[in-house]
Structure formats: C-alpha cells, structure tokens
C-alpha cells in the first residue's frame, strides 16, 4: 500500500517536472521555414497545371474542345 503511494507520488513528480520543463522551453526554438514577403512576388506552392499548359497536346485539346462545344452551328 505504502509502496503504491510512493510510486504514484514519484510518477506525479516526474509528470510535473516534464510539464514544467516543456512549458518553460515554449517559444525558445526558432522556426527555420519563415517566408519573407516581397511585394509583387508570389511565394505560394507551385501549381502543377503550369507545366501541363506547356504541353502542345493539352493546348490542342482545349482548342478542339472549344470548337466542338462552343462554336456556332
């Protein structure tokens, strides 16, 4: 019984130490992936569509689609 109480109090003490250590170290680290803003420069993720738009087959497919679906009959 007494050993259980001692065990529980040790665990509690350990948890408190871990908690206090993690709380006190909050904000001490430095983020390395900061994006610095530059006026007029897009710094978001790259759109895979941009590469696809260079494909002549894709360009031709869109042109054919336009003629097929939107030209006057």
């Amino acid at each position: 019984m007494t050993s259980n109480i001692i065990k529980a109090s040790r665990l509690l003490a350990l948890a408190m130490v871990v908690g206090i250590t993690s709380l006190s170290s909050t904000g001490c680290t430095q983020r390395s992936e900061i994006t610095w803003h530059e006026p007029g420069v897009y710094k978001g993720s790259d759109d895979p569509l941009l590469a696809k738009q260079q494909d002549p087959q894709h360009i031709e497919a869109l042109k054919e689609r336009f003629i097929m679906g939107q030209s006057d009959r």
Binding site: K43, G44, D47, Q53, R65
Partner: protein, 197 residues
C-alpha cells in the same frame, strides 16, 4: 500561347441562370458564395439585357496588385488563380475588383472560413490537380482534364463563351457581322441615355 477569356453575348443571354447553377453544382460552392451571377439591365423593360459576370481573369489584375500577401498568380494562358493557404481574407481584392468577383464564405463549408473564393476558370488552385485538397478549396479542375469552364459549356444559347481569346473573338466578330451592328449594352447610348439622373 492561348489567352483564356470569358465573353458574354448580351444579345443571346436569356437570364436562365444555367451558368450560375452549373458553376455551383460543379464546384460544390456553398450557400452565400456566388462565383458567377447574371446581371440584368433595365429588368422588366422591353429591350432589357442580361450578362453573366464572374472573375474576368484580367491581364493586369487589380486584385493581385492590391493583395498584401501576394496570394495571386497568373498561369501562362492568363488564368488568374490564388493560393488559399496564403490568403488572409482581408478583402482588399473585393474593393479593387470592378466586377465584384471575390467572395468570402460566412460558414465553415468551403475551404477555411474567411478565405477569399472566386471563379478559377475551372482550373483549380496550386494543389495537385484534382486532388481532394484542391477540390475542397477550389472545386474541380476541368482545365487539367482538357475541358473548358462548365458555365460556358452548359450555356444553352451559347451566349457565354470561354476559351482562347482569339477563338472567342472570331465567333463574336462573325455574329456581329451577321447582325449588322454591336449591342448597345455598354455603349454611349447606355451611359448617357435620356431620362437618367
């Protein structure tokens, strides 16, 4: 390289709102957000004209010019897109846009609350083409599938055209030649007609 453009032929638009419905359905756009809308001038008066309006994918887009976080980018064929991960929902783009295209969702239903939403010319966003993330934030990416905007493809009277600007202007020029004149929807007669205050 093609330059993608929308054009609404006011002489053909019958205000059916099919384009609005098609857009809403295709991209699962939530209530309160209208990427496309039909505006009618002189509603109820003989000679009324309707035009379907959305983001016009401007060459020198004012939304991009005023964006404080530069979340806009333009594709090689002139489609103006934006990254919702960068957008802070400030609303400057709405003030700058002459067409009222930028929309801001009120509820947590489409992307993240407060992020700007607008017509993407059915070209999605910067995420992987037609991925779940892209669909949730921007809707379907039809251009990546070799298709054109559904609003134009669904237009029953072919009033709304969407595609390469050269092809669009060829069709419109041919129509105008047949009609023998251009519509006065936005002309001098509309701007300075008698009876206006």
């Amino acid at each position: 390289m093609a330059r993608m453009k929308f054009l609404c032929d006011a002489d053909r638009c019958i205000e059916c709102n099919g384009c609005v419905t098609a857009c809403k359905n295709e991209h699962e756009v939530p209530w309160g957000v209208n990427r496309r809308r039909v505006v009618t001038l002189d509603d109820g008066v003989p000679g009324e004209k309707s035009i379907s309006v959305a983001c016009m994918h401007c060459t020198d887009a004012p939304c991009a010019a005023v964006c404080p976080v530069d979340c806009f980018y333009t594709t090689d064929d002139g489609i103006v897109l934006h990254d919702k991960d960068l957008c802070i929902g400030c609303g400057y783009c709405l003030y700058a846009c002459p067409f009222g295209a930028p929309q801001f969702p009120q509820k947590e239903a489409f992307g993240v609350r407060g992020k700007m939403d607008k017509c993407t010319f059915c070209a999605g966003g910067p995420e992987e083409d037609n991925s779940a993330a892209e669909h949730e934030k921007y809707g379907r990416n039809r251009v990546a599938e070799g298709k054109l905007p559904l609003c134009a493809e669904m237009c029953s009277t072919k009033a709304l055209l969407a595609g390469d600007g050269d092809q669009v202007s060829d069709i419109y020029r041919e129509r105008i030649t047949k009609r023998g004149g251009r519509p006065e929807t936005w002309g001098w007669d509309t701007a300075y007609k008698k009876g206006d205050a």
